[in-house]
Structure formats: C-alpha cells, structure tokens
Assembly symmetry: C2
Homo-oligomer: 145 residues x 2
Amino acid sequence: MKTLRQMDRGALSYALDHAGQRTTPQREMVFSILLDERNHPTADEVYTRTKSRMPTISMATVYNCLEALVTCGLVKQVNIEREPTRYCPNLSPHAHFHCRETGRVYDVPVPEGMMKDLVKVLPGNYSADSVELVFRGHLEKGKTK
Amino acid sequence: MKTLRQMDRGALSYALDHAGQRTTPQREMVFSILLDERNHPTADEVYTRTKSRMPTISMATVYNCLEALVTCGLVKQVNIEREPTRYCPNLSPHAHFHCRETGRVYDVPVPEGMMKDLVKVLPGNYSADSVELVFRGHLEKGKTK
DNA sequence: ATTTGATTTAGAATAATTCTAAACTATATT
DNA sequence: AATATAGTTTAGAATTATTCTAAATCAAAT
C-alpha cells in the first residue's frame, strides 16, 4: 500500500484536529507506514521505512509524528523490557506476546470484557485507566504464527 | 533493619550458589537494601541507599549485584514505560499498579491461579513462561496506600 | 502581504545501562 | 602455606534510545 486509505486519512485528520494538532504529510506518511506493516516497529524501523518514501524526513520528525499519533490516541506505545519502544496501531483490546527467540512481538486478541475484568483485582482506592498484559516465551515449532 | 536475616541470608547463598555465583558482601548488602524497603527502587536509588552503608561500592557493582539477584531468581525487574528499571524482591505472583501522579509502583496481590489462567488466552502454539500485568492510573484520595 | 504559531530539521545533549580493563578477593591446587 | 585460577569489584569510557535546541520552513489567520 502506497498511501493512506480514505478512511484512515479521515480518522487521522479528525484525531489530530481533536488534539489541536495539524495534519502534515509527515504524520500521514508515518501513520501509513504503521498501518501498512503491523509488526510493532521501533522508531528506528519506522524511520528507515519512512525515509525510503520520503527521503528528507528526519529522525526527530519521526519521533514527533509518533508522539503526535500517540497523543491523539491512534497509536499505542509498547514497551517490553528495556528494548526500544515499539508502536502499535491496533486499538482493539489485546495483549502482547514477546518471543524470546526472535524478539518479535505479537498481538493477542483477548475475550470481550477480559481487560475490564482484570481491573477487579485492584483494591477499591486504585483507579486504573490502562491495563497492560504481556506474555513472554516462545512459539512452538511448526507454526510460525 | 541493618543486616540480612538468617533466613534471607540462607536463601541468598543457596540461590547464588545454585546459579554458580558467589555470595559477596556487596550482593548481601544490595539484597538487604531491597528487602528492607520494598518500594521498587531504581538502580540509582539502590546505589544511594547502599552507598550510605558501604561507601566504597560503585554503580557498576550495584548493577552487577542486581543482575546476579535477578539471574538467580530472587529479584524481579519491573519495567514501566520508558522509566528506569525497578527492582522487586516479591516472588509471589502479583500485578503492578503505576500511579501517574506520584510515579510510585505498588504490588497488587492477585487471586491464586489467576496468572496461570491468563495464559489460556494464548493460541495453542504460544508457550509463555512469564506473565506481566501492569495497571496505570491513580490512587483515590483518602487512603494513601 | 504580513504576522503568528506550529512543524520540521540537523545536530547536540541527556541519561540509563553496558562495556572494558585493571585491581582485588576468594577458592582450589600444589 | 604458597601459588594459580577464576570470579568479582571498581572507575571511567562507551553505547544508545530518546529528548532538547534553535534555526528554517510552512500554513493558517489577520
């Protein structure tokens, strides 16, 4: 895919505008890159991919764009151990699985309502607005995914 | 508490030995510091506290000791967002709650077997050896803890 | 047409962590 | 007990992801 679909473009402009931010070619491109290959790239990987289509973009701009996308809620940051932050445009509730062998991160869909149920383990005076569930391990041979 | 309790000392020596590592004054001190105040200190905080009782210790040694404790299974690393790694000597299954206001991290005990149940959301070819559950939010006024 | 404010950019700065190599310590071996 | 061996500690340098800075660019509003 070379460019943002109309639907995604609309969602992007709407979300950015809602957060008081402008829609720019760089932000569109970075968002497009994230949607294009949803393998939880790092900022550096996003930079490399973006640069191939928009050679003048800088690393700082990639960070700026990613931050803008996170701020306006279209992208989630995924931090695993001390590794570089990864970026994930999957907005539906899900967990993450981190393969120790390949280092890859996979989305794991969770049953409807599970994330909300988890919050119930918290004592009454704890109020959570985000729940993060990360598994670490390895993929059994045979299936790669 | 000024020094390691006999029980903890034994557990430490046993665990280190089991991992092919020696029991040293520095490792004992760092372990003692972690057990003493269980508020998920960063390496830097551990360094400061340790230095007050063992002024010649170096930062590198603190990192070495923490790594040794993690390797031999007595301490867990807790990574929240991009903040410095924190260290937690609580070995029973628990979740973490990260207060956005104070930055503090709290242990949240979870019901028996819950962590194991969570693994069931994974597809068959995913094999997890660790489960991490982190809540983020704030503490309601009134109770501080 | 001009002002204003946001965005992009390159490069410098920051900060947590890891690495390096020398000094030290403890254990094992003679 | 003396020596060799291997693990540990130490200070400081190196690394690296990320943030900061200030100038240049751009777009919207007056």
